[in-house]
């Protein structure tokens, strides 16, 4: 299969990517389109999962798995939890009546997509990934990430940990009726 579309060779990898990316895009649309918060959350879960797969294809397996653990494992469960706790499942509470904002927003969104895409994408059509030899291929792995994270990114790491601590305390203060 060597026919090319727009100067890009159609490879099986491209087809596979197309499948995953298409699914992810459909899920992304579903997040917005579904009237039902739980379904949006589900779409988001699937989207994140597919993103994790794409991370794998980018040799970032550590980040891919982290994506799954953090987002689908924790964050989205939290989302579902809250959605069900508030029982926002059906469109009972929030009436999504359509007003002018909706159309303008969609219009502007398409505008943004078109402008940015027209500006950026054409330059990137022919950019192919650089060839990774054996040791460069390890750079998505745990030990490479760990070394970099704890040596030259140590201070940002600490800052982020403090941020997370603040988040914990803040959420407890917010959610607890009486401390």
């Amino acid at each position: 299969m060597n026919q090319t579309v727009g100067g890009v060779a159609v490879t099986p990898e491209l087809l596979m990517f197309g499948a995953i990316a298409g699914a992810a895009a459909i899920c992304a649309v579903g997040v917005v389109a579904f009237n039902n918060a739980v379904r949006s959350a589900l779409c988001l879960v699937v989207n994140f999962f597919l993103l994790a797969v794409l991370y794998f294809t980018l040799n970032a397996e550590m980040l891919g798995i982290t994506q799954v653990v953090v987002y689908t494992g924790a964050i989205m469960v939290l989302f579902l939890f809250v959605v069900m706790l508030l029982n926002l499942g059906g469109s009972k509470l929030v009436h999504e009546k359509s007003d002018w904002k909706k159309f303008v927003g969609i219009l502007l969104g398409c505008g943004l997509f078109v402008i940015l895409g027209a500006q950026i994408l054409p330059q990137l059509v022919h950019v192919q990934p650089m060839q990774l030899d054996q040791d460069l291929a390890k750079f998505g792995g745990p030990e490479a990430i760990g070394r970099t994270l704890f040596t030259e990114y140590a201070y940002p790491f600490e800052a982020v940990s403090v941020l997370l601590l603040i988040g914990i305390v803040g959420s407890i203060l917010l959610a607890k009726r009486r401390i």
Partner: protein, 114 residues
């Protein structure tokens, strides 16, 4: 993944980002808006990783190369952490609002108007 141009990843990220933006504007349920924000964050993550993998500009030394490959992933990690914190606090806020008024329609939270 060989054979896939960078444009594909960036295009997907751009699409997701735009979808998130539109969702923030269109939807009324704050939780869904949160989801859209997460969507945007993840599209940015994807873009970072793609650029980290596809080294567009040729880099001088292997150290620089490793560094520039690592930078993207590091930023993604930090983005994830920030997103986690943000979600924790945000959902807490939503719970508090819901407890205050039995309704989380974002168009009725307009107390802060001039």
């Amino acid at each position: 993944m060989n054979g896939v141009p960078l444009a594909a990843y960036i295009g997907l990220g751009l699409f997701m980002f735009t979808t998130g933006v539109v969702g923030v504007i269109v939807r009324k349920s704050p939780i869904v808006i949160f989801m859209c924000i997460e969507l945007m964050l993840n599209s940015v993550n994807l873009t970072f990783l793609a650029f980290a993998r596809y080294q567009m500009v040729p880099v001088a030394s292997p150290e620089r190369l490793q560094h520039s490959m690592m930078a993207g992933q590091m930023i993604v990690i930090f983005v994830m952490a920030v997103a986690a914190a943000e979600v924790a606090v945000g959902l807490g806020i939503i719970m508090a609002i819901f407890r205050l008024r039995d309704n989380v329609d974002i168009d009725e939270m307009n107390l802060l108007r001039g």
